[in-house]
């Protein structure tokens, strides 16, 4: 079963007297365990698509089906609940809370829940990502790669079916970027999580199962990586 499936997605922005089609009819689907990159020049609609996939924005037209449920017309509260249950986010600039330790940052999405096993799970996730000796460090005591690992652990704390990554290697040097992409690949394979990475970085394509090229709000040719 597909994790997320979009049909004929259109996102139209009205600025001044002009209308701009950020997305002009996108059909996109991803299976569990699949690692897909979305590439395209600036203004091609990558981030808009990622926001709609992440239920952070709603499409002007078309349909979004998440894990078998049509989520197109849901209100903010229901979208937030679904987002929490099924989707994890990784951002280019990590966006860790500076006052919290690594473990606490990983716990953030579930902090307001009554969840007794939370700390243990957060520690295990960080250990798995190779940060066993950095558990109680604050973000300013971590390197860029380490911060991104904390962010990845945070995206996994709710056991999501889909992880959305916005330029995950964008703020990292290429060696660190490779390590992060390795982590993503491993997570997709081991946890059967679908991963969508929006990127400029050609490096990403070495790791993904397929690449979707966006041009002017439409999908161009799709490249498959034989695996």
């Amino acid at each position: 079963m597909t994790v997320i499936d979009t049909q004929e997605l259109v996102k139209r922005y009205r600025t001044g007297g002009q209308t701009l089609d950020a997305l002009a009819g996108i059909d996109f689907a991803i299976e569990p365990g699949e690692f897909v990159s979305i590439m395209g020049p600036s203004g091609s609609g990558k981030t808009t698509l990622l926001n709609i996939l992440g239920l952070l924005a709603t499409p002007t037209e078309g349909k979004v089906v998440l894990d078998g449920t049509d989520v197109t017309g849901l209100n903010d509260r229901k979208r937030t609940t679904l987002r929490k249950q099924t989707i994890g986010f990784v951002f280019q600039h990590f966006y860790l809370l500076p006052t919290l330790t690594a473990v606490e940052n990983v716990k953030v999405p579930r902090l307001l829940n009554d969840d007794p096993g939370l700390t243990n799970r957060a520690r295990k996730l960080l250990e798995r990502l190779g940060l066993g000796d950095r558990l109680d460090h604050r973000p300013d005591e971590l390197s860029g790669g380490q911060k991104q690992r904390v962010a990845i652990a945070r995206s996994l704390i709710n056991s999501p079916k889909l992880v959305l990554a916005d330029e995950p290697s964008g703020a990292l040097d290429s060696d660190t970027g490779r390590q992060i992409l390795d982590e993503f690949k491993r997570i997709a394979d081991q946890d059967n999580v679908a991963i969508v990475a929006v990127t400029h970085d050609e490096l990403v394509n070495e790791y993904v199962d397929r690449t979707v090229h966006l041009v002017d709000g439409t999908i161009g040719q799709e490249g498959k990586n034989g695996r």
Binding site: T81, F89, F91, Y95
Partner: protein, 385 residues
Amino acid sequence: MALLDKRAKMAGRFLPAVLMARRNLTRTKMRSLLASLGIVIGVVAIASLGMFGVALQYSFSQNLSNVGSDITVVPNSEENVTDLTERDVQTIRREVSADATVTAVKNRMEPVSYGRGEPGQKRIWGIQNPKRLYEADEGQITPFRNGALVGSNVAEEHNLHPGSKIIINGSTVRVQAVLNEEGYSPTNPNNRIIIPIESFGQREYSGVIVSESTGTQANETAMKIRDSLNQRKKRVSVEEMSSVVEQYEEQFQIINIVLTGIASISLFVAGISILNVMLMSTVERREEIGVLRAVGYQKRDVLKVMLMEAMLLGLFGGIAGVILSIGSGLAINHYTVGNAIAVFRLPNAWYVGAAFAFGVLMSMVSGLYPAWKAASKEPVDALRS
């Protein structure tokens, strides 16, 4: 059991928000400190002024404690009545209750000098049976035939003791006793010189003071006296001290309301400074709030954390304010009532509690708009870098 469970769950949901809020505040320690300093000042201002009013009222009513059941009857000069006759006094005696005391007094202005100084005009009093009303600080009140009794203020001012000489209207009189200092009442002797009532030439009295045992009884007696003496024309005016006391207490209450009202302006200012601080921090933490929303925090969760921050600022300021207020209350009561411990009286607790509650409430109200603004920001907009 179920209720307990629910409570534990609520605490579990609440505590993390408190912890998060606390961390956010300690991130900008100086700023948070200054914001709650406003609340501290506001709380101290309201509580101190409130307690100051209470202390004043207390020291005033301490002086007035016995006056509430007193009635004074004086001739009504508007009807050209200048004196009360012996018959009037007898009438009054008939109307009062069994355990009331009736004191008829005479007074007139006389030139008085103390030792070598120039004589000054002073009102001289004649009071029936002074032993019943007063106690002597120095000397003896009885027998009272030709000496003078002086009040404590007069004695202090002119350095008078039993045996001292004063000259009233040319004739020398020896001070027989200095009277104990007394609280405010119509028969208060502190500023008076009293001579035997028999030495007044006139037969008429200038006033009668009735002391009843209770305020209600006083009220009843006052009505009876009016009925019997003012039948044909309003010959006397009867004043109940309880109504005077009431008037004073009303005045004090108004003063207190005005004082605390002025003080609460400072809490509004403090509220604005919290509003400002919170608005700044929502702008600074735009992305962070966006992340929280992206990882599944509902609007109301963000609202809760932000409101909690405002509440913590208020609580911190409020608690510090209460501690300082109690300190200032001790000082206020020490200097006005002469008893620092008097700060632990109920009305003071009320003022301190109200100031604290108002401080916390003010902080939360001020936090409302920034919190709402932060919560209703679209996560996509917040995360756009």
